[in-house]
Symmetry: C2
Subunit: 339 residues, 2 copies
């Protein structure tokens, strides 16, 4: 068998798994932003009819999963595996969305990089013949994240200028060995990079070095450059982190220019929506990928995408104990045509 | 390429990846139990020289990783990937043990099933040619878990009769495409089963149905039975959960008998060590696998093992919100000889 391993940390999907379907769910603030027309569900009710923010998050995941299954004309029991995760303590959002569904399930924790991590592993599962139909699923919720990582909303804490706004959203992708695509072509697995940032409200700066290192490794391992992509997106670096990544590449003599964007800057109107540096959370890159980006690919407006999930690996306790914020970035390349 | 997928939720490792090395680290109570001679490190200092229980957990992981690398005569940068996870909020134990190591890292959350989940995914990565040398690593710590899931130790809360004792321990396995083994042969991916148990202190009962369903699926998918194994172990069901699994199989007319054991009952002396139903935590199955069990396999005393990691997917918040406790079980079969 031809080895799929390339260079330091990359893999090539020799069978180029197909994206059979995808679905996105978004909350109120996201439904008022520039991508409002691209979500399958744009809810005015941020509680999604539930009694707690955590249950709302599970509900979003269930909805994304149902719509993705429907679009692929599949039933739950036709999924051979699911890769799922979220930001809540012990990933309960995902555990409760998958319970008693008879779908073999891998729980992941990649912080806000989970959409890329789950897509990468789902790609490995399909590409390697371990499973035929596989789902990647993740979510985040502004209110459950605030009480999880920072303060309960009722506390009314001030937000710092470098803060980001956790996206209320979910995304699901179903992969298969065949289908009309787009298709996964390659991926780069991130290592954990700690640049020593101790401000838990400056996650963009904490994550940018990890994003730089993974994209750099992707280019080096696979002999590629920015010109091989129409669009390179990071998950949720926000305005500040986006700028840091662009600058790190400039030091290498590489101009990313307009080709490089960030989902956290795309999902909100940064001028009008008072989100400071932009969106964050697993649901940010998930809902942008599973709406806007894959939509543009299906319509032929975007052909070569490098999707880079970015995650800040902190907990309230690690911050209290004076730890810095390590980060990770996983990248998956998606093409409208098989090579 | 021959498909590795079998039946409802199982896979066959067509290349049968080799366990190149393994290492275990254990705390004080574990070092006083019946398996004391089987750990690579049996520490009298439960803080492992660190200032917090969480940092102690990271230290245990680092030590297990270092010893496993040493035994395999490998350097960190020779690992193509690591699959890691723990029980702490946002898996910070693992994130901090892997930071700035330049090892491509997948974060997992499988609760106490993480050793099996990580081994399974590491097996898929090696078997599929995505990576050459891959590590599976996990841990738990009694004191960090108590404050994470229940009460700070200083509170002095009473333990219920069905409670279990979180193992202070870590385990690491390094897989490779070739080596003297033992070897991974097949695996069954668990789905999330919720039997409706709401008592967060009765995790054995919550996890037993998940263990039963995964082992049942393993037999059905692969045309196997208990007689195909010398030993079937669950991770941390304890005395009560172990009995429930045995009874569920008896209802099917299958007698598991002495062939079926539980790591949570093996690691402590249940009569003398005041651990109620037995050990629990990711570190329970990890330190028993990476010491006692793989040690017996290397010495030829045990040849056919079905290793079943079991996890209760709760969080303090889900319990407070009145949720029941879903559970998952992943199984990996390990043989001293390649078939």
């Amino acid at each position: 068998m031809e080895s799929a391993h390339r260079g330091k940390q990359s893999i090539v999907f020799t069978q180029q798994p197909a994206i059979l379907s995808y679905a996105s769910v978004a909350g109120k603030k996201e439904s008022e932003g520039p991508l409002k027309a691209t979500f399958d569900v744009a809810s005015k009710d941020t509680a999604f009819g539930q009694k707690s923010w955590e249950k709302a998050e599970t509900q979003m995941q269930k909805t994304a999963m149902e719509i993705a299954l429907q679009k692929a004309d599949l039933k739950e029991d036709q999924l051979d595996a699911a890769f799922v995760g979220d930001l809540l303590n012990q990933c309960v959002g995902s555990s409760f969305s998958m319970r008693n569904k008879s779908i073999p399930t891998f729980g992941l924790y990649g912080a806000c990089s989970t959409m890329a991590e789950s897509l990468l592993l789902a790609g490995m599962a399909v590409n390697g013949g371990y499973a035929r139909k596989v789902m990647a699923l993740t979510s985040s919720h502004f209110a459950s994240s605030e009480r999880q990582y920072r303060f309960p909303l009722g506390y009314g804490g001030q937000r710092t200028p470098t803060a980001q706004w956790t996206v209320t959203g979910a995304g699901a992708v179903i992969l298969s060995q065949s289908g009309k695509g787009p298709y996964l072509r390659s991926a780069t697995v991130g290592s954990i990079v700690d640049a020593g940032i101790k401000d838990a409200n400056n996650m963009g700066a904490a994550m940018a070095p990890a994003a730089y290192e993974t994209i750099r490794a992707h280019f080096d391992d696979l002999g590629l450059g920015p010109e091989d992509y129409d669009l390179i997106v990071t998950g949720d670096l926000g305005k500040l982190g986006h700028q840091v990544v662009a600058e790190l590449f400039e030091k290498d003599g590489v101009k990313l220019g307009q080709r490089y964007q960030d989902c956290g800057m795309m999902i909100y109107d940064l001028e009008k929506q008072d989100v400071h540096c932009g969106g964050s959370g697993c649901g940010c890159s998930a809902s942008v990928l599973c709406g806007h980006l894959l939509g543009r690919m299906r319509r032929g407006q975007l052909n070569r995408l490098l999707f880079c999930g970015t995650g800040a690996l902190l907990s309230p306790l690690s911050t209290q104990q004076g730890e810095s914020v390590p980060a990770v970035c996983h990248a998956v390349s998606i093409f409208t045509e098989r090579s």
